[in-house]
């Protein structure tokens, strides 16, 4: 097996120094090494986006929705990673989590983490580059339009994400 490589990460606000194999994917690192099991694997080839996490490569950038099943963890040296486990703060759920619960957005729940982190990255992007109200749907499709869910038909995810965008100051340009 391959020689391990040392990398630095900030994972859900914790600074980590890790020795990892160059072939180890982020999804496996999270699940097997860190016991962070909210990140789900479905297709394993980066299509369904169930494994989406939020990754930021520098302080100036926004979080990017990143497919953990096809991202080698060594490629994230120096990056900041946020997973579903890192969303709530001091037992206070993130507004997206609250909105997903309120809207009954999910059913079996397997795709939920991917939708949460895709939407979380979208909110961060809108924070840096707000859109006009008529572009919100387009932005939501950009953020989670390729995520696959088999239970819900997506409509209640869409409603919840839109609610949070509209309720969060600074994400929508005032007309």
């Amino acid at each position: 097996m391959s020689d391990k490589v040392q990398i630095k990460l900030k994972l859900n606000n914790a600074d980590l120094l890790e020795q990892v194999s160059p072939t180890l994917m982020l999804a496996d690192f999270l699940q097997e090494s860190k016991n962070l099991t909210a990140t789900r694997v479905c297709c394993g080839i980066g299509v369904c986006r169930a494994c989406t996490v939020a990754v930021k490569h520098s302080a100036q950038e926004s979080f990017e929705a990143t497919r953990a099943c096809i991202t080698p963890v060594v490629s994230l040296d120096g990056a900041t990673i946020k997973t579903t486990e890192g969303l709530a703060e001091a037992d206070q759920l993130h507004p997206l989590q609250e909105a997903f619960l309120k809207n009954f957005s999910f059913q079996c729940g397997y795709s939920t983490s991917g939708f949460l982190m895709g939407a979380y990255s979208l909110l961060d992007k809108l924070r840096l580059a707000p859109v006009s109200a008529d572009k919100i749907d387009e932005a939501i499709l950009e953020g989670v339009g390729d995520n696959i869910c088999r239970c819900t038909g997506y409509l209640r995810y869409y409603t919840a994400i839109k609610e949070v965008i509209l309720a969060t100051p600074g994400l929508v340009l005032q007309s």
């Binding site: 369904c48 339009g145 088999r150 819900t152």
Partner: protein, 791 residues
């Protein structure tokens, strides 16, 4: 590595249900393409380094000469013939005459059931030709698809040889039967791996939709554990393997003919349904039977001759999937009815209104539905929708040089329950105020884990705090035993044993949560209320008249109000209940076969007849469950087996589509659903199921398609990257509405997770026909097919 040779050496026996052999034998022909050849063990530390999720071995396959199938040619066949020549009862039906099956005899009206069946089949054929009815005859096909639940099948297991126990954790829709099957494999006395106990921990699965119902995955997991020298093994199918091994929806070839009189009344239906069951029987025997039973969709049709058959093939095994044969059969009839309306120049909804099945009319088997079916209200609501009433003007205004716009409708009627419904439920109230439910329901994306905790609210004044699904082992307190009996007499004899029931635990299937599972949970909660909470409250409130009467009580803000004046807090009641050792938990078994089983139970000093057939009770906080002996049990009559099913949910779906003239791409622009679900337990779940089914049905209608053998998923090269599933981009955001028809007082909640998918494909096909003037009868209606037809 473990192969079939090891299985043979160790006398492993595959349960009949799961096919002939589990592993293809080296040097022999496999039963089907994709059949496993070996179990390969990898140390966990090495596994992640292999990039195992990306393994696509299909390019290494080399095919030899064409070989014939080892499997039996048919996994089962059904013929539903019914003749009703005008008002009054049927001259011939399944309920009257029993099931008919081959070999067929010479037609004879006074002969055996088979001879009479052939006689009436021939008579219907004659009448089709001689009565002057308008005939519509077409061929339809539906494709093989994968349920594509998001979490692939996976599990961990280990074998404890010292204690002869097999321990497994996995997500399944049928944990009880899986455990039983795993024990059977190692039951031979010569097998060196004896298994006395299977402990199966059924965890919450990431979707199911039928695909985890009697899958063979648990068997492979059990075998892998047995040969692992006591170490724990983990099997996680990657998505290529899930496509290769997972249960598929049956592809169907349907040849159908309907006859309508001049008033638009359907007088006869003749159908030939052929399903491809793939390499193992699995549920093919049942899917083809349900396809036949539900082939009449939402209609009363007086003359029927429906033949259905599931064939074996070299394809990946087909089995249970949402819609279970009904979806395929309804695609054919709902397309044909629409075509007939067009030809007869009738409004398609008006034509449907003339032909509805209702509670007073018999279904295809000749059975009367147990509850009213409000299909008429469904149709009237759809008819009044602007999308329908103004469809011609929408078509005109929204079509342009690039797009064709059309509106289509389809009506579905789907039974809920299997008519062999065995439910287990346990409700407990704890001294700390928590209410806990355990039951054998599984939430596979159908909302059971959300809705069942709510169904006790009117009894206990609150929803459950803890919900544990997929429970089997904890119900061993009921000490149940089951056997399949083939006559009323044999069942009566068995029922003398107070532990005997026809079935112990059903799989999660057939939209059974809302009616069947709810009943079991409520019965358990009701016993806790009457024998625990009520007497505790009466003691606490010093109420002298302690006879329970639901009219005397009311829950208000978490407090129990008795006789309008005694207000008692939940916490105080539970503390008193536990202190006094009153009933704090009830564990029940229920059985439904067109009626509930009933029995007398002596609880304390009272004997009550309850709609359950086994009961154990827990008193106070300590100790386990005490089993009560039932008396005067009344199992549902054996003849109810012939009814098939007796409860139905109607769902109408209106859709608008646009068709790109150049590419042939069809887009779902708008949808409105209309449903009679009886009492609504949780509106958001009902709407969520309907929206989810719309997406799933959209994939079936337009995108998904698996080759059956060569080039198909059995080769191991399929994943979501080449299998288009609908995404949010394909859905009509802000343009889907669900209308719920007001329930008839007294109607129960009705199962609805399956029916909502059944009309999607025919509604879309009918909308495309409205838009383009072309009828598509083969699914999926791909862009290539549409483009070709428009060229």
């Amino acid at each position: 590595m473990i192969t079939d040779k090891d299985f043979e050496r160790d006398h492993l026996k595959i349960p009949f249900y799961f096919g002939r052999i589990m592993m293809a034998k080296a040097g022999s022909q496999p039963d089907y393409l994709g059949q496993p050849v070996a179990l390969l063990y990898i140390k966990s530390s090495d596994f992640l380094e292999l990039g195992a999720r990306l393994l696509d071995l299909s390019s290494y396959l080399r095919f030899g000469a064409e070989a014939s199938s080892n499997s039996p040619s048919s996994y089962g066949e059904t013929r539903i013939t019914r003749h009703n020549d005008g008002p009054g009862s049927d001259s011939f039906s399944v309920v009257m005459d029993g099931l008919s099956s081959p070999p067929w005899e010479a037609p004879d009206i006074k002969g055996s059931s088979n001879a009479r069946c052939v006689f009436y089949g021939n008579l219907i054929e004659q009448e089709l030709e001689t009565k002057g009815w308008e005939l519509f005859e077409e061929k339809f096909s539906t494709q093989s698809i994968d349920p594509c639940f998001m979490e692939s099948e996976s599990g961990i297991a280990w074998y404890d040889k010292k204690h002869k126990s097999l321990n497994m954790t996995l997500g399944s829709q049928s944990p009880y039967d899986d455990g039983e099957a795993c024990a059977t494999i190692f039951a031979d006395k010569a097998c060196p791996y004896p298994v006395m106990t299977v402990k199966l921990n059924c965890c919450y699965p990431g979707g199911g939709f039928g695909g985890r119902d009697h899958s063979d995955f648990p068997l492979y997991l059990a075998m892998a554990a047995i040969y692992a020298d006591g170490k724990a093994v983990r099997i996680v199918y990657n998505r290529f393997e899930q496509f290769q091994a997972g249960i598929k929806r049956h592809p169907a070839q349907i040849h159908e003919k309907i006859a309508l009189d001049k008033n638009g009344v359907i007088q006869a239906l003749k159908a030939d349904i052929q399903l491809d069951g793939g390499g193992q029987n699995n549920f093919s025997f049942a899917v083809q039977a349900v396809a036949a039973q539900n082939a009449t969709a939402a209609y009363f049709i007086p003359r029927l001759d429906i033949k259905s058959k599931a064939m074996s093939s070299k394809a990946v095994t087909s089995g249970s999937m949402r819609g279970f044969g009904t979806l395929q059969a309804m695609f054919a009839l709902e397309s044909l009815v629409d075509q007939a309306a067009e030809k007869l120049r009738m409004d398609p909804i008006e034509l449907r209104l003339k032909n509805l099945l209702s509670q007073s009319k018999a279904t295809s088997t000749g059975a009367k539905p147990s509850y009213e079916i409000q299909s008429e209200k469904v149709l009237r609501a759809a008819q009044n929708s602007k999308l329908w009433s103004q469809r011609e003007s929408f078509k005109k205004s929204k079509s342009n040089k690039n797009l064709l716009y059309g509106v289509g409708f389809a009506l579905a009627l789907k039974s809920y329950g299997t008519n062999l419904d065995a439910c287990l439920a346990n409700v407990e109230v704890e001294a700390d105020g928590q209410v806990r439910i355990k039951c054998n329901a599984i939430d596979m994306g159908n909302g059971s884990a959300t809705t069942l905790p709510l169904v006790i609210a009117d009894l206990l004044g609150r929803n459950a705090d803890v919900m544990k699904t997929g429970v089997t082992e904890e119900f061993s307190s009921l000490k149940l035993t089951a056997s399949f009996e083939s006559s009323q007499g044999a069942e009566d004899q068995k029922a003398k044993n107070p532990r005997w029931v026809p079935f112990i635990s059903m799989a999660q299937a057939a939209s059974c949560s809302a009616f069947q599972m709810r009943h079991a949970v409520r019965e358990a909660a009701s016993i806790v209320l009457r024998y625990g909470i009520w007497p505790a409250a009466c003691q606490l409130g010093k109420i002298s008249e302690r006879t329970y009467d639901s009219k005397r009580m009311q829950w208000q803000d978490g407090q129990l109000l008795i006789d309008g004046k005694h207000r008692l807090s939940w916490t105080d009641i539970l503390q008193r209940l536990h202190k006094e050792g009153l009933i704090s938990g009830a564990m029940v078994h229920t059985y439904y076969r067109a009626q509930w089983s009933k029995a007398d139970f002596k609880i304390g000093l009272q004997t009550e007849t309850l709609p359950i057939d086994a009961l154990a009770l827990r008193s106070g906080s300590k100790g386990g469950y005490t089993l009560l002996d039932r008396e005067k049990v009344q199992m549902p009559p054996f003849k109810n087996n012939l009814i098939g099913v007796d409860m139905y949910t109607p769902y109408g779906l209106l859709v608008a589509v646009s068709v790109n003239k150049e590419s042939g791409e069809v887009r779902l622009e708008e949808a409105e659903g209309f449903i009679d679900v009886g009492q609504v337990i949780q509106y958001e779940i009902v709407e969520g199921q309907a929206a989810g089914a719309l997406a799933m049905g959209l994939g079936q209608a337009l995108y998904e398609d698996l080759p059956l053998t060569k080039g198909g998923p059995g080769e191991g090269g399929w994943n979501i990257g080449r299998y288009r599933l609908p995404t949010m981009r394909d859905m009509p955001l802000n343009r889907f509405k669900l209308h719920i028809i007001e329930a008839i007082p007294g109607d129960p909640p009705k199962g609805m997770a399956e029916v909502v998918e059944c009309p999607v494909a025919p509604a879309i096909a009918n909308a495309i026909a409205h838009a383009t003037g072309k009828r598509f009868r083969d699914l999926p209606i791909s862009a290539e097919k549409v483009k070709g037809a428009l060229a």
